[in-house]
């Protein structure tokens, strides 16, 4: 049977496998959200966590950036209200409190192609990801040079290399792609995986959100 890992569960799985993820924690009520947020240090983001919501942005299930306890409190109530008014029957697990991601957005994914088998993708992320389709693919497993070439094939790579806009160590992305390739290779039960967005900046790389289909 297919199983879909979303949000906090997907992030926990990735973290367990050694991939860098943004610090995230599930808060079941507003006070928990506030205390988690202050412990993490501001700014943070709040995201709805429910098996009924796959596309959080489209649903309006994200609030960011939040800079204070009162903003967190307000955002928590808004999210809970929006969710319950449109899904009275649905199950709200809580709200994810997450360290605010920053930098360039990438999408990294794996899938199983009928002919090629497991395949790795990296692309420029953000809201135009489908429209721009700035992507590069390789067969899993990849090697170091493959990772480098994948990044260089992206048109968005020019932004990553621009010293004025940011200083990203491309080697950080390379090793992240190698890790993702290894993860998919060592877990043949993973059918499809979207790590989207993945934030990359001078501080490093981290998965912000993920969806994983296993079977």
């Amino acid at each position: 049977m297919d199983r879909l890992l979303l949000g906090i569960d997907a992030l926990a799985f990735l973290e367990e496998e050694g991939l860098p993820v943004l610090e995230s924690s599930l808060a079941k009520h507003v006070d928990a959200a506030v205390s988690i947020a202050s412990r993490m240090r501001f700014p943070v983001a709040l995201k709805i966590s429910s098996p009924n919501v796959v596309h959080k942005t489209e649903f309006g299930g994200i609030r960011l950036p939040l800079h204070s306890e009162s903003e967190v409190r307000e955002a928590f109530h808004e999210l809970a209200d929006t969710f319950l008014s449109s899904n009275p029957q649905a199950n709200l697990e809580g709200v994810i409190v997450q360290k605010l991601g920053k930098g360039f957005e990438l999408i990294v994914g794996t899938m199983k192609d009928e002919q090629f088998g497991p395949v790795l993708m990296v692309g420029s992320g953000g809201i135009f990801v489908e429209a721009i389709n700035d992507t590069s693919f390789r067969l899993i497993p990849i090697e170091g040079t493959d990772a480098r070439e994948m990044i260089e094939e992206l048109r968005g790579c020019k932004v990553l290399k621009n010293q004025r806009t940011m200083t990203v160590d491309l080697a950080t992305i390379e090793s992240f792609l190698l890790q993702t390739s290894t993860l998919a290779e060592s877990h043949p039960e993973i059918h499809e995986m979207d790590l989207n967005p993945v934030f990359v900046s001078a501080d490093g790389i981290a998965v912000c959100d993920a969806r994983i289909r296993m079977g």
């Binding site: 994914g109 088998g117 993708m121 693919f137 390789r138 493959d146 499809e192 979207d194 289909r213």
Partner: protein, 465 residues
Amino acid sequence: MSERLEKLFCPDSVAVVGASNGFDKLGYHVMKSLIQGKYGGEIFPVNPKGEIVWGLHSYPSLRDIRGTIDLAVIVVPASLVPQVLHECGQKMVKGVVLITAGFREIEDQKGGVLETEIRNIADQYALPILGPNTFGFVNPTFEINASFTSELSLLEKGGVALVSQSGGIAHLCGFLATEQRIGFSKLIGLGNRCNVDFAEVLGYLVERDKATKVIALYLEGLDRPREMVEAAKSLRGTKPIIAYKAGKGEKSDSASRFHTGSLAGNYRIWRGAFRQAGILEVSSIEELLDTAKVLDSCPPPGGPRIAVLSSQAGPGMVASDAIEKSGLKLSHFTARTQDRINSLLPPIAMRTNPVDMGPAWYSPQDILDLFEAVLEDEGTDGIIFMAMYASANENLANEIAQYVKRVDFLGKPVVACLSAPREIWNDAITGIDKRKGFAVLPTPERSVVAMGNLWRVKLIVDNGG
């Protein structure tokens, strides 16, 4: 594995099953190809009527032939193929070219069933089959044309092995190549790839076929593309492999709720797989042939710095525009080189790169001196050399051909674009093309694109050596 193809491509004897005297039978044309292609081994026509075929005694069946048969070319109707394959197996035939069509390529499901049946028979005897549904192959090095088109015997000998999934494209490439003086080591049609696929042929061409210097692939789609990719990857750094992929339609899995799935068109994955395998992908049939020719004829450039020398300014500008798009750079001449150029050209022309050799029009020797100055330039890795015919420079191509005869093999690649009216300069161009590191291509842009690919292949080979 690939050694089993040795006697298929270089057979000492060939049986043609379905050989015929009737022009409307493919068995007639296969016989014509073998005989007019001056095949040096023994030919056994097999025909149930037992008549004289193409002047040769024919045999009612393979069983009736005494002596060994290396290759059987089969052109009988599809329904008779299983029986013939059993006979091949029993006769210890070493390889089969199965020209017959009507297998899994047809809509009728019976075709697919029949193909499975023949694959099983082939397995039983460990019999490699090129095809079914292939035009055959031509091996100019070994002087055998085992195809149904005798005119393909006119292919020049050379270092290019072209492996095609389509017979039509193989014909197109063969005829274009004849016009462009491209030399082949093999022209192979894989057809339905019953049990001989790209992976195995690549292994054969790289490891066993000394005549092959560069491998050009035309492919549409494969059932098991990973095998081909793995094979190419393991051969990376040996002989250059270039490919043209048709069927680029971006059919992605739009039903996928995942971004990765919906972004992944089959061709996008192919592109990545080619790069991963160290195969240089090209974007047209022309580029496939141009690149193959340059790889076969020119030494690899030591870097991307290219000089453009043109007898007329316009072609030089067009080439210069194409340089950067192709991943190359216009070279900067050293002071010494620039002095030599300046001494040969008055300051009325462009003397830095691109060099307008126009003022030297009437003096082939000055043009050759300019060429040599740039060839020896330390800041230059390769040359695009262009001369368009004009009545006043009629003698130029001959002088260049004489020069080519005199010099040693060049250490740098020179792609030359020499254009002239039909019949004029033909002999001279033949004396220049593919010699000593020169390759001649029809236009400035195509010359530059091919030079760019020569550089990219160098990078691929160096990375994977």
